[in-house]
């Protein structure tokens, strides 16, 4: 770590900063900016060095000290966090306004207001630090005051209240009485012509169909009569024909709504012999 070569400007105000330990602490103060919890903390430390009542602090002097601190840190090429620079800029601005005679045309708070507010903030922070110290110095539980070492637990006796409503009762009874009615669902496939069957059948036949042929001519034997069997076979064959059309193997034609549907093998195109 870089050591400051020259005495630190703001410490000149302190008359008894001569011991080695103190000097070291002061150097640490400069180098270890991280030791402060932000610029306000640093300002408070600097203000304490003025050794006056915080109410009577010279904000102008404090601003100068802070700016000197920042200058020093920069001379030592210490990276200062942006907050410290922001505060430095604000204090430089405040300092310039404090030094100039007040301009009555300028609106907003006067430099004196700003300085007073800063002094208030420093005093308040200091007060809270003292309060925190007082608080921590109280007779704390587990340090100065003690609770009963063997607290007697309240014996919890548990009484169970069983819950059941009329609906539960009726449901239970209904469940018991209808248990015999439950059957596994079995589907009767005798009258169902599946799409897989229709596809197999169409694939086998379509190679021979050069010209438009009515869908009904593709229905398998025994399925072409009226009724459920014919409906099932027609639906399956039509679904299978859509699949083959999607694959580009057949063409489908229907001249109008509810008109007969016919297919033919898709004629080979020129570039696809």
């Amino acid at each position: 770590m870089t050591r400051p070569a020259s005495p630190i400007p703001h410490l000149r105000a302190v008359p008894d900063a001569e011991t080695v330990a103190q000097r070291r602490a002061d150097e640490a103060l400069i180098v270890d900016v991280d030791g402060y919890e932000g610029p306000l903390d640093l300002l408070l430390t600097l203000a304490r060095v003025q050794k006056v009542d915080l109410m009577k602090i010279s904000v102008l002097h404090l601003a100068e000290q802070y700016l000197a601190f920042v200058e020093q840190a920069r001379a030592l090429r210490i990276e200062l966090a942006a907050d410290y620079l922001v505060m430095a800029a604000w204090l430089a601005f405040l300092k310039s306004r404090l030094l100039l005679p007040p301009d009555p045309t300028v609106e907003g708070p006067t430099a004196a207001d700003m300085a007073a507010h800063l002094a208030f903030q420093l005093e308040r922070l200091e007060a809270m630090r003292q309060a925190a110290a007082q608080l921590m110095g109280r007779d704390r539980l587990g340090i100065s005051r003690f609770a009963r070492g063997t607290p007697e637990a309240v014996a919890r006796t548990r009484r169970t209240e069983w819950q059941a409503g009329l609906i539960d009762l009726m449901r239970a009874y209904a469940r018991l009485k209808t248990r015999g009615e439950f059957r596994p669902y079995a589907f009767d496939r005798r009258d169902v012509f599946t799409m897989e069957q229709a596809l197999d059948r169409l694939r086998g036949m379509i190679g021979y169909v050069g010209d438009w042929t009515d869908l009904s001519d593709f229905l398998p034997e025994g399925w072409d009569a009226r009724g459920a069997r014919r409906r099932s076979a027609t639906a399956a064959t039509f679904a299978a024909s859509l699949e083959l059309a999607r694959q580009g193997r057949i063409e489908i034609r229907q001249p109008g709504a509810f008109a007969p549907i016919s297919f033919r093998r898709k004629p080979p195109t020129l570039d696809q012999p």
């Binding site: 014996a155 548990r158 169970t160 069983w162 819950q163 539960d168 015999g180 059957r183």
Partner: protein
């Protein structure tokens, strides 16, 4: 304190007996376990006499809500035994009846008076002793007359408490199966039309009102 007044100069004078009592009181209060006179002496300033302080404390606490008890070689504060009832809190836990219990209860309600064997026939499984005991303990079910059949089995009936709990005037007010079905409490029967599913032969007459069937069933009562 008065007796120590003349000796104020001596710095290592033991504390007054009253002060020793305070000390022992605080130490015993904060301790996680009973402490012996020896333990106390180790923790008190030199020259203290824990035995005397303990005796004093014991007198001071006699008849109070807290008493100084001797436990083995140790001493500890304990709640006065006659106040132990204050250290109990009853918590009421609400739990749903088990499926076995509610089914058994339903059978008893719909078919009362009913024997255990009959309950088992309807449920299709054995009824555990615990289930019936629980229902009896809850005062929802009680033992009715013995059936005048071989073995003279006990029957079970529902109680007034049961009727109160379920808001029924009598067990006859329980809705029959047809009403249960109308209320959507029974799964709809698979449609018989269209799908030729062989239906198993229902053992019981499902649509008969439960009350009627119950009375039919046990003509002898």
């Amino acid at each position: 304190m008065t007796d120590q007044a003349p000796q104020t100069i001596a710095p290592d004078l033991p504390p007054s007996l009253a002060e020793q009592e305070r000390m022992v009181e605080a130490i015993l209060f904060a301790s996680g376990r009973p402490l012996t006179a020896r333990d106390l002496a180790d923790r008190l300033p030199p020259g203290c006499d824990p035995a005397e302080a303990l005796a004093g404390l014991r007198r001071a606490y006699a008849g109070r809500g807290v008493v100084l008890e001797r436990i083995g070689d140790g001493y500890a504060f304990r709640t006065a035994p006659d106040l132990s009832f204050l250290m109990q809190a009853e918590t009421v836990e609400q739990r749903r009846l088990s499926r076995a219990a509610i089914e058994t209860l339903a059978i008893i309600a719909y078919h009362q008076p009913v024997t255990r064997t009959e309950i088992e026939e309807i449920r299709g499984v054995a009824v555990s002793r615990g289930t019936l005991d629980q229902l009896i303990e809850m005062d929802w079910v009680r033992i009715g007359r013995r059936r005048m059949t071989p073995g003279r089995p006990a029957t079970f009936v529902v109680t007034e408490t049961f009727l109160d709990h379920f808001g029924l005037e009598s067990a006859r007010d329980l809705p029959g199966l047809a009403e249960l079905r109308a209320a959507g409490l029974l799964e709809a029967r698979p449609p018989a039309e269209g799908l030729r599913v062989p239906l198993a032969l229902g053992g019981e007459d499902d649509d008969m009102p439960a009350t009627a069937s119950a009375t039919d069933f046990f003509k002898d009562d």
